[in-house]
């Protein structure tokens, strides 16, 4: 812990703590909603610790509470969580090796990934990833447990605008990367694809389809990437312009 503090410094840790606090508050409403939907108190606590991915857990609870098959609910949740595979591919070695990686992989989530990406060098990326990952590992189940016990007292956290904090946290952290025009173009195109397909497709799929936005990298500048086709999941191949 002390080495994480020394590597990151107070300001970065304060930002991470704020993101974890937001996760904790959403955890409160998650626990409360689960209990109100008929789940026993232990369920959201166990699920939050084992799955540790909020959106998929809300979806699972929602489908099962509506009478859906739990295995189908799990598959829907897995679709939402498939983005963790490309996250792991994108990160340099931050998860550690051997036994350590078991925990290092488990604490991979939107927040820990985005904090890691926002850092400049590998030691800082690693420290930010673990600080945020472990913070979420404590705050998400902790919030869920308290919310489940406190029940309906805390259900409408939306009244305080807390639903705006998750996208705002992620956006604030990717803004530096978006100053690069090619990245911004790919991200913008991807976001549009996700938005347009949301009304028709099951949850999770639109975000994965956004990867088609990477097609804007094709034929850019002298970038060696220009000679390569867009990655999988891309249906309509864009014509590869000859680079120079």
């Amino acid at each position: 812990m002390s080495s994480i503090y020394r590597t990151l410094g107070r300001d970065a840790l304060r930002d991470i703590a704020l993101a974890c606090l937001a996760v904790w508050v959403i955890g409160l409403s998650y626990g409360a909603i689960a209990v109100a939907s008929g789940f026993p108190v232990w369920f959201p606590v166990a699920q939050s610790a084992l799955v540790l991915a909020g959106a998929s857990e809300f979806l699972f609870i929602g489908i099962v509470a509506a009478g859906g098959n739990p295995i189908a609910a799990a598959l829907a949740g897995l679709l939402v969580n498939a983005r963790h595979l490309p996250y792991g591919l994108a990160l340099p070695d931050v998860t550690g090796r051997g036994w350590r990686r078991l925990l290092g992989a488990h604490v991979m989530n939107d927040e820990s990934v985005v904090f890691a990406l926002a850092q400049e060098d590998l030691p800082r990326k690693r420290a930010a990833y673990w600080a945020c990952g472990l913070g979420v590992l404590i705050c998400w189940p902790g919030g869920a447990a308290l919310g489940a016990l406190a029940g309906s007292l805390l259900r409408d956290t939306n009244a305080f605008g807390l639903d705006a904090t998750f996208p705002a946290v992620i956006l604030a952290l990717i803004v530096p990367a978006l100053r690069d025009r090619v990245t911004a173009a790919a991200a913008g195109f991807g976001a549009v694809i996700a938005l347009v397909t949301t009304p028709f497709l099951p949850a999770g799929l639109p975000v994965l389809l956004a990867l088609a936005g990477l097609v804007v990298l094709v034929g850019r500048r002298a970038d060696p990437a220009a000679r390569e086709p867009a990655p999988a999941r891309e249906t309509a191949q864009a014509p590869t312009k000859a680079a120079r």
Binding site: G88, D110, A186, G190, L211
Partner: protein, 107 residues
């Protein structure tokens, strides 16, 4: 909860599958030596995924539009972040804007 065993089985399926997604990325990356352009592509891919997550969580709820209050709050946060405001200010401004708009009756 109707059938505890089946619901727990579903939850464990979701946990195990999610862990498999999380674990395979670092393992693959370790085994395969990616050329630098692929590393660049993968890093942009992560930003693209995160941006799509921002867009969908800000603007949509289920399969429909989330209403104006939430995207307005996120937009305020985004503009502040672009102008290099501190992280704390960005997040509190986003939540505050959304809360005030809801108080004023904006959905």
């Amino acid at each position: 909860m109707k059938d505890t065993t089946l619901v727990v089985a579903g939850m464990l399926t979701l946990s195990a599958g999610t862990f498999a997604f999380r674990f395979s990325g670092p393992v693959l990356r370790e085994r395969i030596a990616f050329p630098s352009w692929v590393e660049r592509l993968l890093e942009v891919a992560a930003v693209v995924l995160l941006a799509a997550l921002v867009a969908t969580t800000a603007l949509t709820k289920g399969h429909g539009f989330a209403g104006l209050a939430r995207p307005a709050g996120v937009l305020v946060g985004g503009v502040l972040a672009w102008r290099k405001a501190p992280f704390l200010v960005v997040v509190l401004a986003a939540a505050g804007t959304t809360a005030v708009l809801r108080l004023l009756g904006v959905p």
